[in-house]
């Protein structure tokens, strides 16, 4: 492998990403042990990778919607005319929560920050067992949630219940969306205590919602 080939083929990046065949890997190694410029580039990139691995290992997990999670705003199933009344009522509640709680909290955040993520996937839906999450007061955190999807339901609603009777809708999901892990941002504000994400299923438009699961967790504030 000569210098131009190494540069043009992005051999440095491919090498660190483990994408070179054994033959190309050996050819690139033979090259960078003899090419001062490629050696310097590899040193730069490998130090970046090494330092990133060390830094990220200690950093909170950033909140990013995985590609396969589709935001509920893309779901139009609640626009079905037969479903309009309860759907619009929930929409009004949701908009109210967004305007009076979520958006003001977001505006308070003047600098980008990473969101601490927890998994609610092992949550027990029965009994007293609940997961405990320690968070910074006033800071939002994220939850990975699996909806207990059932083929008899065509759509699902998620609602958050918290201390002092707090209750707020989270999102609606189609049956297809419910197959995938959801990422939900929780704004506990100053409310530490017991929470639950209540999952309800609707078998058909116009039918009542049936509670399927209560994914319980407790929020405590780090002092």
């Amino acid at each position: 492998m000569d210098h131009d080939s190494a540069v043009n083929s992005q051999a440095c990046e491919k090498y660190l990403l483990g994408e070179l065949s054994a033959e190309l890997r050996e050819a690139y190694e033979e090259h960078y042990f003899s090419c001062a410029e490629c050696a310097a580039q590899l040193r730069l990139a490998s130090e970046f990778v090494a330092a990133s691995q060390q830094i990220l290992a200690k950093a909170p997990v950033p909140a990013v919607e995985p590609a396969y999670v589709r935001p509920s705003r893309r779901s139009f199933s609640w626009l079905n005319p037969v479903f309009a009344i309860p759907a619009f009522a929930l929409l009004l509640l949701f908009l109210g929560y967004q305007n009076f709680v979520t958006i003001p909290q977001l505006k308070e955040s003047v600098t980008p920050h990473v969101l601490h993520m927890f998994s609610l996937i092992p949550a027990n839906t029965r009994g007293d067992q609940a997961l405990l999450f320690s968070v910074t007061p006033g800071e939002p955190f994220g939850l990975y949630v699996d909806v207990p999807a059932d083929s008899s339901f065509s759509s699902y609603f998620l609602r958050l219940e918290g201390p002092q009777g707090f209750s707020a809708p989270l999102r609606s999901l189609t049956a297809e969306e419910a197959q995938k892990t959801q990422v939900i941002t929780i704004h506990p504000g100053k409310r530490a205590g017991k929470y639950a994400i209540v999952v309800s299923g609707v078998s058909k438009p116009g039918a009542g919602a049936k509670e399927l699961a209560r994914l319980q967790f407790t929020v405590e504030f780090i002092k």
Binding site: Y15, L16, G18, A39, A50, Q54, A57, A67
Partner: protein, 183 residues
């Protein structure tokens, strides 16, 4: 830090004579590349250390042997060649003691784990700055690649990106890191 170093006869001569500062530079310079090379085979850190030490011992021994290295500017490829021999002996020895699975030569589709490389605090500071400038999504992609031990196919599927995107992301981050150092 972005060192472009070439080896000459004087350097090899000092190394052969055991000059302490030249030896320190030699070990520091090649340690990094030998570790990256060995980690590219997904060897455990303790094995990497053993093989690295063996490589250095053989290179120094060869330098001091009668004849030594005939072309000083080929010191780098000589180190690589000795490391390859050490690796080959290691795999042969391992094969004798532990039956190798049919896919033992296949490299996992993951980024190299370089977490055990010695990194200066200044480098960590610069990298922290670079990471903070990246969009949250790119930070999450790097986290998934670096820490979550996901294969690159899993990362691409999870974040809806292509393999090219991963390479470009690393390339851009490397460029930002270089700028941070030069500034």
């Amino acid at each position: 830090m972005l060192e472009l170093f070439s080896f000459d006869e004087a350097y090899v001569g000092r190394l052969r004579e055991g000059d302490p500062s030249t030896e320190r530079h030699f070990v520091a310079y090649f340690s990094h590349f030998i570790q990256v090379k060995l980690r590219a085979r997904f060897l455990a850190p303790e094995i990497v250390d053993d093989l690295k030490q063996e490589t250095f011992a053989r290179v120094i021994g060869s330098l001091r042997a009668q004849g030594g290295i005939r072309q000083p500017d080929r010191l780098g490829p000589f180190v690589n060649s000795v490391c390859n021999n050490v690796l080959l002996e290691h795999f042969r020895s391992a094969a004798r003691s532990v039956p190798l699975a049919p896919d033992h030569l296949e490299i996992p589709d993951k980024i190299l784990n370089l977490e055990t490389l010695a990194i200066s605090e200044e480098t960590r500071r610069n990298v922290r700055e670079v990471l903070a400038q990246l969009p949250e999504r790119d930070q999450a992609i790097l986290r998934a690649m670096f820490l979550d031990e996901m294969t690159k196919d899993e990362v691409c599927s999870r974040f809806g990106v292509t393999r090219d995107y991963l390479r470009v992301l690393l390339h851009r981050a490397k460029g930002k890191f270089r700028q941070a150092i030069e500034n």
